[in-house]
Amino acid sequence: MAVNLDKALVREKIAKRAEREIENGFYVNLGIGMPTMVANYIQEDKEIVLQSENGLVGIGRSPYENEVDPDLINAGKETVTAAVGASYCSSAESFAMIRGEHLDLAILGGMEVSETGNLANWMIPGKMIKGMGGAMDIVHGAKKIVIIMDHVNKHGEPKILKECSLPLTGEGVVDRIITDRAVIDVTDNGLVLVEVAEGWTVQEVVEATGAHLQVSENLLSATF
């Protein structure tokens, strides 16, 4: 039977699971929204660097009121501080760094992911298009791309599909999907279910997924 958690708790659960993707020593870009929350859960024993595409390598914690510098923000336009050992660069240099695949990991939000790793997360036809920002660059710009999102949309329909119905952000770019219900890898042989969240069964996850899901031989259950 499906678990019911309030929205904030679901987001926290996904963010905490996503944090485990970050290895010690990683350079990481966190997308705007839920991915930014991942930073709140980074284990203290990990030394990592958060990159912000507006030109900061080494995002620090949020500032105390007396530390606020209006010239220092992250890509979500929030005031931040710089971590010890940070550096600033231009947007062109920042995206040279991204496009050149110098980041180890990017964690981004998603609207839909296809079984071949296509991602849609920037526009809904008929609605005002606000722009893709840096998402189209970032999906090509890290050694590993992890998408975090709800497993189904507000109508209960799968967001993991054979083909995306929405316009794409990138083609064949997703390596791993983390939802409130499961962790799914995109492989050359299709989608592989590698973890099932606490409170969910393999059967329930398979039924809530709109594409063929192989079950890993090493499937883990109730990992988060």
Binding site: S52, E53, N54, G55, L56, R61, S62, P63, Y64, E65, V68, D69, P70, D71, L72, I73, A75, G76, K77, E78, T79, V80, A82, Y88, C89, S90, S91, A92, S94, F95, A96, I98, R99, N118, M123, M128, I129, K130, G131, M132, G133, G134, A135, M136, D137, I138, V139, H140, G141, P167, L168, T169, G170, E171, G172
Partner: protein, 232 residues
């Protein structure tokens, strides 16, 4: 390398005529040439093509030009902070060209660097690939995109010297250095104008060769999303 040092913002933008293409530095409201934009609003110049990552907010930055209907076309990567923008687009009053942010930054750099076109993976297989050449290098597809230049580039720096050398503060650097290089005429609004020789040559972000005019001004530096650490 003698630069024009303006004493009024009105004078600094007086050569910008209707139908000009202008590039404007900044990311969100950070690092925008606030006073040069205000002077453009006052100047009532119109039919502008504006190249900038964002388009300000409803009552500040490029949003003011928008409200005044001075912009015909906007090239940027994200314009989501602005309701008037949405209204004008839906009403067909404003043309928009959305470009991935990294592609935008690199197109501007290419424009200033004499590179007419380059290849990037961003956007392959997406709506923005329409009409663009796709080419495979080493088994991976890329889009060909072209460099961008402007008649006028407006940037903001923390310090500028009388030879046009600029240094930026923290993330206010963003698009400014590449935009400074891509303008036929580049005007820099600086927080502090200093004498030549004051800035360490190893620390200069924009060499003066890219800058034609400078003006000192005081900025409001509005904050879009004040995010504070909760006291422990």
């Amino acid at each position: 390398m003698m630069k024009t040092i303006y004493t009024s913002f009105e004078e600094a933008v007086k050569d910008i005529k209707d139908y000009s293409t202008i590039m404007v530095g900044g990311f969100g409201l950070v690092g925008i040439p606030e006073n040069l934009i205000l002077a453009l609003v006052e100047s009532k110049v119109k039919h502008l093509t504006v190249i900038s990552n964002n388009c300000g907010v409803d009552d500040w930055g490029l949003g003011l030009l928008l409200e005044n209907k001075q912009i015909d076309k906007m090239i940027g990567s994200y314009v989501g902070e602005n309701k008037e923008f949405e209204r004008q687009v839906l009403a067909g009053e404003l043309e928009v060209e959305l470009t991935p942010q990294g592609t935008l930054a690199e197109r501007i750099r290419a424009g200033g660097a004499g590179i007419p076109a380059f290849y990037t993976p961003a956007g392959v297989g997406t709506p923005i690939a329409e009409g663009k050449e796709v080419r495979n290098f080493d088994g991976k597809d890329y889009l060909m995109v072209t460099g961008l230049k402007a008649d006028f580039s407006l940037v903001r720096a923390a310090k500028g010297d009388r030879l046009g050398n600029l240094v930026y503060n923290k993330t206010a650097r963003n698009f400014n250095p590449e935009i400074a290089a891509a303008g036929t005429t580049t005007i820099a609004e600086v927080e502090e104008l200093v004498d030549a020789g004051t800035l360490d040559p190893d620390h200069i972000h924009t060499p003066g060769i890219y800058v034609q005019g400078l003006i000192e001004g005081k900025q409001e530096k509005r904050i879009e999303r004040l995010t504070l650490r909760r006291e422990a």
